[in-house]
Structure formats: structure tokens, C-alpha cells
């Protein structure tokens, strides 16, 4: 589709009038989705989807529309041509946009990975074999993801990746389960077997009688997977320039109240080491790295083209939300986690976080899969789910005891509208006096 998309844009560009400028984006995927429940197949299928977005600009006026395209060249040419005519007809009816900004310098890029994916049928056999004799539930998603940008100024960008992600649970009973993920570009039987073995060993602990703790403060260890939920909350209005300028940021106390996090906390948007495209829908190339929090102090925001025009700050991102979230490592070795935790809660997964008081950075959420009670540095029992209520300034500030030296790279498994290319690289965190409330 790469060649054809660029051809369409070139052809449409030749029909532009006067000082019109055309921006065009392509988003497509060919995905297999196999859903499992109780170690059997619930819903297997595949999705082929392709969208093209055209934006016609004339002076300060612009009109944008997206459409599905079929992949049939004649049909798509005609549809896109008709869409351009519609956009031109709309322009007189839209007001001038003071915050319109698009790239006028040409930066061509190409990030193309060839597929080394396994046949989905073969993967299916392996997943079902791993679930044999167990209660397995989950999703296998695999296939190609494609993105493109081109404009009438001659810029061309293309992105193609081919990945798979198996995210699954082994259930013991009721809500007691182990969550695991095996994702990558090529299937490795040995790596998958190790993931299954790890999950199975945790499953054995879940068979012990579950413990219920009273609300109160406890020492906890959050695994990197649990830290994804904390990072996702930080990302929700934490780092965007617009959220900062309109005082909607959940890190308001860092900006207005001069609060800080622990010096160990450094947070970056690291597009260079992420999985997604490095260009925006307006033709800008994203900054490879944006330092958002450095040694516990707020540093830079993510700046979209629109905010750039509104607030006069250079563009460094497409959306004002991290897509390649990275937190710096600490000095706690993974092997020492249980000993340092001593007595407390080992949290493998957090779930359904939200704000109790957003400007104060106060959040709530639940423990979920494979959360354990630890005594004397040994896992003794699975823990029944608990609700917490905490603030960033305690868990990543005054009460942060250590971050792990090792970090996990965790690709996002979201599949809303399309398969996500976001990712997190995070350490685990040892935290004192973590407040459970219910």
C-alpha cells in the first residue's frame, strides 16, 4: 500500500489550486485476533482495515476528513478525489484557524520491518497446548501495522511493523489468577515455555488460602507491570502543554505548588526506543527524546503542533500523551526485592485507576492478578483484592524506598480501533506506608 498511497497523494496534489496545500495520512492493519476462554477458542477472526485522512489547507482555513479505503486502486482513487472536492467545498464555511500549524520543511523517513511472524494457526496450537489442563483465558493478536504521511510539498513518511502479542491468564478460581504476556516479532518456543513456566509457578501459590488485610498502610512492591498503571495515570493529563497551560494537569502541584517527586524519578518520552511511528499527522518528525521529569523535578511538556501554535513552544510530539513512556532505573536488584519488602504486599497488577483529587495528584485503584502477602521475605499467601488511595507525591516521593535496577519493556496491548504501538519501559518500585482503603 505504501507505493499506492504515495501515488494517490501525488495525483491529488497535482489537482490543487492556487496556494492550497494537501496533507494526507494512512493508517492500516491486517490483524488476526483469537480470543480464548477456559482453554478453548471463544472468537477467532481477522480484520483488514485501512483509513486515509486528507487535510486541505488554504491560508488559515483547513478542512479534514478520514475515510476507509478498499485497497482497490480505481475505487480508492475515485473516493479520495471526491473527498478532496468535498473538502474544497467546505473551506469557505470554516473559520480561520489561528492555531493551524503543519510542517513546511520536507523530512522523509522510512521505518519498515519485514514480517517474521509465525502462522497464526501454528501459534494457536501452541497456545492451546499451554492451556491444556489449566483454565486459560486471553487474546492472541498478530499481524502488520502500517502508517504513512505525505503532503503536497513532497514529504513522504512510512512505517510498517509486524508483531504478535499473547496476553493471557491462568485462573485458579474466582478472581485468583496469574497474568502473563508474550509479545515480539518472531515466535521462540523456548521463550514462550519460560513465560508459561513462570506463570505456572505463581499459579501454585494462588492455590494457598487467600489472606484479607485490614485497610491501612503497608509496605508494597509494585512490579513493572503494576507500574504501567501508575505511568498511565501520570500520562493522563500529566505531560501535555495544553493541560499545563490550562491548569488541568494532574501534576499541578509540581508546577504551581513547587512539589517534587523523589530524586530517583526520571521520566522520558523515548520515541527513539519505542515501537511507534516517528512522524505526526501534520508532517513533523517527533523529538527522539523528551525529558518530562528529571530527578524528581518537572522539566518539559509534550507539545503538539496545535499547542505549539497556541503557546509559542516548538513541536516535539504528535499527541500530548506519551507513546514511549520510560522511567529511569534504580539500584534495587530484582533478586533482593522480597528480602527488602520483608513483610508487605507484592503487587503484580494494578487495575482501574482514577483520580480522587486530580490537582492534588491523588489517585485510587485496585490490586488485581497475582497479588501476594509476603512475610519475612517469603511469599506466604495470595491476597484478596484491595483498594488503594494515594498521591504521586507519596508513592513516587516521600515514601519511595527504591526502584529496581532491571526494567521491563512492556508493549501496550490496547486494541481500541486499532492495535496500539505504544510501550512502557519501567522499573519496579518498593514503597512504604502504601494506603489501602477498602
Amino acid at each position: 500500500m505504501q507505493r499506492r498511497f504515495f501515488e494517490y497523494v501525488d495525483e491529488l496534489s497535482r489537482t490543487l489550486r492556487g496556494k492550497e496545500v494537501l496533507l494526507a495520512s494512512y493508517d492500516g492493519e491486517e490483524s488476526d485476533f483469537v480470543r480464548f476462554n477456559r482453554s478453548a477458542i471463544r472468537q477467532p477472526g481477522s480484520v483488514m482495515q485501512q483509513y486515509v485522512t486528507l487535510e486541505l489547507i488554504d491560508g488559515r482555513r483547513h478542512a479534514k476528513a478520514a475515510t476507509t479505503v478498499t485497497g482497490q486502486a480505481d475505487d480508492d482513487r475515485a473516493a479520495l478525489k471526491a473527498m478532496l472536492v468535498e473538502l474544497r467545498a467546505q473551506l469557505p464555511h470554516v473559520p480561520d484557524d489561528p492555531y493551524l500549524l503543519y510542517a513546511t520543511e520536507v523530512h522523509n523517513t522510512e521505518q519498515i520491518a519485514r514480517s517474521t511472524l509465525p502462522d497464526s494457526g501454528a501459534a494457536l496450537d501452541k497456545v492451546l497446548a499451554a492451556g491444556q489442563g489449566r483454565d486459560m483465558v486471553g487474546l492472541y493478536a498478530a499481524g502488520g501495522i502500517y502508517g504513512g504521511f505525505a503532503n503536497s510539498l513532497g514529504q513522504k513518511n512510512w512505517y510498517a511493523s509486524h508483531s504478535f502479542c499473547l496476553e493471557w491468564c491462568f485462573y485458579h478460581q474466582a478472581d485468583k489468577a496469574v497474568k502473563a504476556r508474550y509479545a515480539g516479532l518472531a515466535w521462540d518456543d523456548g521463550a514462550f515455555a519460560r513465560k508459561v513456566a513462570d506463570a505456572t509457578s505463581q499459579l501454585e501459590v494462588l492455590q494457598r488460602p487467600a489472606k484479607t488485610i485490614a485497610p491501612g498502610g503497608y509496605r508494597v512492591f509494585l512490579t513493572p507491570a503494576a507500574m504501567v498503571e501508575i505511568a498511565s495515570m501520570l500520562a493522563w493529563s500529566g505531560f501535555g502543554l495544553k493541560d499545563h497551560r490550562t491548569k488541568n494537569t494532574s501534576l499541578l502541584k509540581m508546577i504551581e505548588g513547587h512539589s517534587t517527586l523523589a530524586p530517583a524519578i526520571t521520566v522520558r518520552e523515548n520515541v527513539r526506543e519505542g515501537l511507534g511511528a516517528n512522524f505526526t499527522g501534520e508532517g513533523f518528525v517527533k523529538a527522539p527524546v523528551v525529558m518530562m521529569i528529571e530527578n524528581g523535578r518537572y522539566k518539559d511538556c509534550l507539545v503538539s503542533p496545535r499547542s505549539s501554535a497556541e503557546y509559542g513552544v516548538p513541536v516535539n510530539a504528535g499527541w500530548e500523551y506519551p507513546s514511549s513512556f520510560e522511567m529511569g532505573a534504580g539500584d534495587l536488584d530484582e533478586a533482593d526485592v522480597l528480602a527488602r519488602l520483608d513483610t508487605g504486599v507484592y503487587v503484580n497488577t494494578l487495575w482501574y485507576l482514577n483520580y480522587s483529587d486530580r490537582p492534588a495528584g491523588r489517585i485510587t485503584g485496585m490490586t488485581r492478578f497475582a497479588t501476594f502477602w509476603v512475610e519475612g521475605g517469603r511469599v506466604t499467601a495470595p491476597l484478596n483484592v484491595m483498594r488503594f488511595d494515594e498521591t504521586y507525591y507519596r508513592i513516587l516521593g516521600t515514601n519511595l524506598l527504591a526502584l529496581t535496577r532491571q526494567r521491563d519493556f512492556i508493549p501496550a496491548t490496547d486494541t481500541y480501533q486499532a492495535r496500539s504501538t505504544s510501550s512502557h519501559r519501567l522499573p519496579g518500585a518498593l514503597i512504604d506506608d502504601f494506603q489501602f482503603t477498602l
Partner: protein, 478 residues
């Protein structure tokens, strides 16, 4: 729907299988938005695609495509058949034994004033005029007004000759204002984006977009100097724009049969409700009457048939506090051996149907907001959801509201901010102590309820009066 398209879609279904269906959707979206009196870029989208489902040898497979050419549809049918054959003997149930509906019919949702009846210029003028009423104080730092319109046409064909055509128009007006002073920020909105319904431009008047802007803005400013919500156990009265969230999270989701069957355990979660509770479990007090009602005109998730072709009917789910049946569509009903409802729904052409709550409504009671306040010695009256969190069994929850007012000795007194409360679904509804009247019902919904693997955002809705709960843990901000 053009006859030629229907004919081509029907021809795409493979022969010689136990069952096949094709579900076609065409959707047009347009968002007109003004922020800080500046018109935002017009956002438009058109998408069309089809999903072919095949059942053969007891197994099911699907394939979705936006290539609606004959060759594209044929390829999708081939892929769906491949998946069904790969699943043979390894599926969660014998899909060939499911009594797949084969109905035919047509449903057209309401649209009194078509979206196109107002020009684009006029829509921007309308939003700009509303926006200009919102900067009521220097402390207002951000404000936005928008209209999101969706027109959706669907056609569902089955190998047994069924043909269901449905047409919907959705309008989601939104209005929100943010005020700030130092490290205090407060946001008020028009029903937290829940003021959405089926219909055309008439929805703007139905939800009172013209009426509420300056009030919403003033309240955002007033909250800056309000005290935090008190902490403690007290009575709680929830306005309809919080009741919709309460019903959604702690009744709608736990009763979805696919959760009870375990399909969602890897993602959205399981349910504290188990099969043995159906028909006997005391979910709430005698005042709790919950219906599944996709037949209510204009509600966001109304329809004639679900996405597996089952006809929609109003059904009691909880009557006088006792759980009668779960929310499960044709496939889940067959798997569970239980009665259900017509609620197998897909978020679009590229996602398969799963159990969805659709319109889940709290039937009105005999109280009024005024009488419930008068009966409350000490409590809080909360409006408008702003935070939601609940465990994966849909039991332990914590919800937050934008605005609250103390109730002291039967009267509303001072304004409070950062209002939160916690509870446990299994016991919370038993503390239901009052339900407002039919005249006080708020009809609301959300276009973005997330669930399913692969993930799906669906439209769901709730019509609720205000309600009073006794002895709830409430608390305020940091």
C-alpha cells in the same frame, strides 16, 4: 440500502456451512467544536466495512474487511471459513447447535431535525455563541463546547434469509468549563459528556445545552472556594448524572453474561454474580427495579435488533430488588442455558458482537428529590460523575463527583468539592432508601464504554431518577 449492495453481501456468504451472516456498517461522524471562543478544526470521518461470520462443524470464525468489492468480500469469507475450520473441536461451545436468529425487519431511530438542516457556518456560530457565555470570571482558564453527530446504517443478513436494516442518528452535545486559582483547579460540565441521545439537532434542546452554560461556568468558579467534602459515614443522594455511572458500573457490567461465563477475565474482568444467583439473589432493596429497554425512543442504545439478529424487548432484570436474569445474547444464553436479552452488540464493522448492557434503566419510584432531602438528617447531595474505579469483579468501587452540597437536618446547605464515595456493589444497593419520580428521570448515555478483546468502545445508556442511599462512606480531596 442499495439492492445491489445487499445482493453482493448476500452472495459473499459461503454455501455449505451450518450458518453464516454478514454485517455491514456505514458510519459518518462529524464534530463541531469551539474552545476558548476559537473554532476548532472540523473533524469528519466516513467508514464502511463488513464482517462475515461462518459456523461450520461446531466452530465459528469471522473476518472483517473494508474492501467491499466482490473480491474483497470473497476473501473475507475465505478467511472466516479458515478460522472456523482451525477452531473445529476446540471451541468453547458447539456453535452449530446455537439457534441463530433469522429475523427480518427495519428500525429507524428518531431524527426530527436533521443534522444537515443546519449549515456548517451556522453550527460554528451556534457553538461560538455558547462558548462566549462561559468566561464568566477571570479564574475561568479553559472552556469548550462541542457537538458530535453520528449517522449509522447497518444491514445484517443471515444464511437462512434474514435481513435486518437499521438506521441511527446520535448526537452528543458537550460543554465543560475549568476554573483555577493557584494549585486548585475545578471543572464543571454538562452531565460529564453523558448528555447524548439518539436524534438530530432536537437533542440540543432536549439536553438544554442553551440553558446550562453560564450556570456550569459559575459553579466551576464557586467550587474553587468551597470546602472539601466531609469524611464519614452518612446518607448520600445521587443526581441522575451520577446515578447513570452507579447503575452502569455496579449493575450493568456485573450482570453481563459473558463476564459471568468468564470471557472477560483477561481484560474487563469477571463478576461477583454467579450462575446460581440468577432468579433468587437479593441485589438491592425493594425499591430497586432495573429494566433492559432498548425500545425506549431516543435513548442512546435503543435498537430494533441486536447484532446477532435477536429482536429487542423491554425486560425486567431486577424486580423489587431480586435478580431475575442476566444480560446475555443468543450465544451466551446457549452456553449458559439461561434466559437473557437481545444485547449481543459490536462497536463497529471490525469487531465481533459481545454482551453489552445497552439501555439499563432504573425504574422511577415514589419519592422526589425534595422529599429525599427532607428525610436526610446528615448527608451529601452529589452531581455529575468525574471519577470511576471498580474492582474486576465489579464489587469494591470508588466514584467521584464534580459538585456536592451538604444536607443538614433535611435541608441543602453549603457547597462542597472533590466529592467521593466508596462502597461494595453486593451490599450498596441494599441501602437504597429512596428513588425519585418519573418526572425527575435523566436520560443519558455514553458513547465510549470499553470492553472486549479485541477492545471495543460501545454506546450504552441509562435513564435514572435521583436516588438516596443510607450510611455510605464519603470523603473529600487531599
Amino acid at each position: 440500502m442499495p439492492t445491489s449492495l445487499e445482493s453482493r453481501l448476500r452472495n459473499a456468504m459461503p454455501a455449505g456451512v451450518d450458518f453464516a451472516s454478514v454485517r455491514y456498517l456505514r458510519q459518518e461522524d462529524e464534530v463541531v467544536s469551539v474552545r476558548q471562543d476559537v473554532p476548532q478544526p472540523l473533524a469528519r470521518g466516513v467508514e464502511a466495512g463488513a464482517m462475515i461470520t461462518v459456523v461450520i462443524g461446531g466452530a465459528l470464525g469471522y473476518a472483517a474487511t473494508c474492501d467491499l468489492s466482490d473480491s474483497g468480500l470473497k476473501d473475507a469469507a475465505r478467511r472466516a471459513l479458515k478460522w472456523a475450520k482451525l477452531s473445529a473441536g476446540r471451541a468453547v461451545t458447539d456453535f452449530s447447535k446455537i439457534p441463530w436468529p433469522q429475523e427480518s425487519g427495519r428500525y429507524v431511530g428518531p431524527e426530527e431535525k436533521p443534522w444537515a438542516a443546519l449549515s456548517l457556518d451556522a453550527k460554528f456560530d451556534l457553538m461560538t455563541a455558547e462558548s462566549k457565555r462561559l468566561k464568566v470570571d477571570p479564574r475561568v482558564v479553559d472552556w469548550q463546547v462541542s457537538l458530535w453527530h453520528t449517522a449509522l446504517d447497518s444491514l445484517y443478513l443471515t444464511s437462512g434469509g434474514g435481513a435486518i436494516e437499521q438506521r441511527f442518528h446520535f448526537l452528543a452535545p458537550d460543554l465543560r468549563v475549568t476554573a483555577n486559582e493557584g494549585d486548585q483547579t475545578q471543572t464543571r460540565s454538562l452531565e460529564a459528556r453523558a448528555a447524548c441521545r439518539q436524534g438530530g439537532l432536537e437533542v440540543i434542546d432536549q439536553v438544554g445545552l442553551h440553558l446550562h452554560g453560564p450556570r456550569v461556568a459559575r459553579e466551576a468558579v464557586e467550587l474553587l472556594s468551597a470546602d472539601n467534602c466531609p469524611t464519614g459515614e452518612m446518607d448520600l443522594i445521587l443526581a441522575p448524572d451520577q446515578m447513570v455511572l452507579q447503575v452502569h458500573e455496579s449493575i450493568g457490567h456485573p450482570l453481563e453474561l459473558d463476564r459471568i461465563l468468564g470471557d472477560e477475565r483477561n481484560y474487563a474482568g469477571t463478576s461477583f454474580v454467579t450462575m446460581d444467583m440468577l432468579g433468587t439473589y437479593r441485589y438491592g432493596s425493594e425499591l430497586l427495579n432495573i429494566t433492559f429497554d432498548p425500545t425506549r425512543p431516543g435513548q442512546l442504545a435503543s435498537y430494533g435488533w441486536d447484532d446477532e439478529g435477536r429482536r429487542a424487548e423491554k425486560t425486567f432484570i431486577i424486580r423489587r430488588g431480586v435478580l431475575e436474569r442476566p444480560l446475555g445474547g443468543t450465544v451466551s444464553q446457549a452456553r449458559a442455558g439461561k434466559c437473557g436479552v437481545a444485547n449481543a452488540r459490536a462497536s463497529g464493522w471490525n469487531r465481533p458482537p459481545i454482551d453489552r448492557m445497552a439501555n439499563i434503566n432504573l425504574e422511577p419510584g415514589e419519592s422526589t428529590l425534595e422529599s429525599m432531602i427532607a428525610q436526610t438528617a446528615r448527608g451529601v447531595y452529589m452531581q455529575t460523575n468525574c471519577s470511576w474505579s471498580i474492582d474486576d469483579s465489579r464489587n469494591k468501587f470508588q466514584f467521584g463527583c464534580e459538585w456536592g452540597r451538604l444536607i443538614e437536618n433535611g435541608k441543602l446547605t453549603k457547597l462542597v468539592k472533590n466529592c467521593n464515595y466508596r462502597g461494595i456493589s453486593a451490599t450498596f444497593w441494599r441501602s437504597l432508601a429512596g428513588v425519585g419520580s418519573a418526572a425527575e428521570v435523566g436520560v443519558m448515555g455514553t458513547p465510549n464504554c470499553g470492553k472486549g478483546e479485541p477492545n471495543q468502545m460501545a454506546r450504552v445508556a441509562h435513564a435514572c431518577p435521583p436516588a438516596r442511599f443510607a450510611g455510605v462512606q464519603v470523603f473529600g480531596g487531599a
